[in-house]
Amino acid sequence: MKHKYTNFTQQEMMAVAAAREIKDGEIVIIGTGLPLLAAFLAQKTTAPNIITLYESGAYDCKPVRTPSSVVDSVLAPGSAQTASLLEGLGYVHAGDIDVGFLGGAQIDKHGNLNTQVIGDYRAPKVRFPGSGGSNDIGVGCKRTIVMMAHLKQRFPEKVDFITTPGFFNGGKERETYGFVGGGPSVVISNMGLLRFDAETREMYLASYHPGVSIEQIKENTGWDLKVAKDVHETEPPDPEVIRILRDECDPDGLYLKKE
């Protein structure tokens, strides 16, 4: 039986790595997809007392099936509060929420995110959906966890458009804005874990996922990516954790692709 759960995918590695970033007792605002699975996995393993919040205003939810959207009707019954979008993001804007999840079309060296456009803003090559709650979560949550596919064009030195500020140009620049939120604490890509230098606020490689080389990661990053002195392989997921992720968090395969 056990070997069935040893063949984890990159996507599953990302979900597991993200779950490890959540501390027990925290309030976490999550969207759909991998962040949702990460939060569910944390709840079922190392952080049973976290509270999940969705920007639609559903708080401390107990969904009986995997939600397919932040407004999935399954989120309301059993939740401790179902309020509205104003509250969902208002609690964030007030600085009450510990962790938020973010993603985007691009992230740069200092953790700034772009979910707006590729190219010129007024005449874009590609137009993305826009901020939604991304900017609000980025400025309001105590820290954010970014999840991204690792491709050179998605990790440029500078994003084409700052939808959601990370550390701007680095150093102490973010602190001049007086945000209640602290900014990104980690970027989890399909290749590795990246963190931000405490002084320069530049992104560096902290660990590479099993089967990925540091060289591959550097090649897929749009600037000369620095590497931590203690860089190491990301701890691979325990097969039991993969079992929980697949069979309990996403039993219908809503988000996890099969190998």
Binding site: S68, V71, S73, L85, Y121, G130, F161
Partner: protein, 314 residues
Amino acid sequence: MKVSKVMTAKEAVVKFIEDGSNLMVGGFFHSISHVLTHEIIRQKKKGLTIFAASSNEHTDQLIGAGCVDRIESSYNGLEVFGPSYCYRRAIESSIPHKVEIEDYTNFTMMARFMAGSLGIPYVPVNSMKGSDLLRHTAWKGENKAKLMKDPFGSGFDHVLVPALQPEVGYFHVQRADKEGNCQMWGILGDAPWSVRSCKKVIVSCEEIVSREIIGRDPNRTILPGYKVVAVVEAPFGAHPKNCQGYYDVDRPFMKDYIKKSKTAEGWQEFMDEWVYSVSDRDEYIQKYINTFGMRRFLDLKAHDFSSSSVNYGF
């Protein structure tokens, strides 16, 4: 007795939505008034400026149909289902024509609606600060948002965003009475503030109920009737999206829309089939049943998770 505001979707759109209107399009991914959206498309409304926190396939369809010139919102996409292709075609390639977008965030849009609802002229926030959302503007220029030093001495700047009071708005709820008192429960999304901010509101609902039913649980009323100009009874009016207590999202239908809307031609086919070839919601439902069978239709229906009762007595 107060006057009844009950009418058909056709009548409501003819009467209250003019070409060039400032139009609040309600619904946050769920409980979206497709019944009214499709009617607006069939009536070929033009030059609309749309206001929404986040927009989905309904706005995408309005854009594809050429009804929209401008959008003030924070998000245009179909969430897990994929991108809004008409919106992308309009912005990237001016198909069917150019659409301008003034970008905000979800919280700032909600703060603007709340402010408009309460007669507050603008709201200072921390969102957008330092971002390119503040640096760039489509047509509002200086009036999109302003950076201002905190007059109460925190030492920090805040972003002032102007209140919104759209001329007219529409949304979908579970039930309303004929005076327009609207009740909603479960996931609320952009309600109640997006609709309260409008000068006039058209509501579509699963059921028109008596004023007495409303009065049995008045905390569930999210919009008082005085703002409402038209009440449209439209069971299944939010399909293919979910309406708590009535029906769930129709995922295969949504996936079909995403797939077809990838090309302008495919989108037109979808619209011909589900919008232009039917004259109202009743025909749409009948067509759905004829196309997919009664079993799939009935399977959309919500199961029971009844709330308990509370005592309003004294």
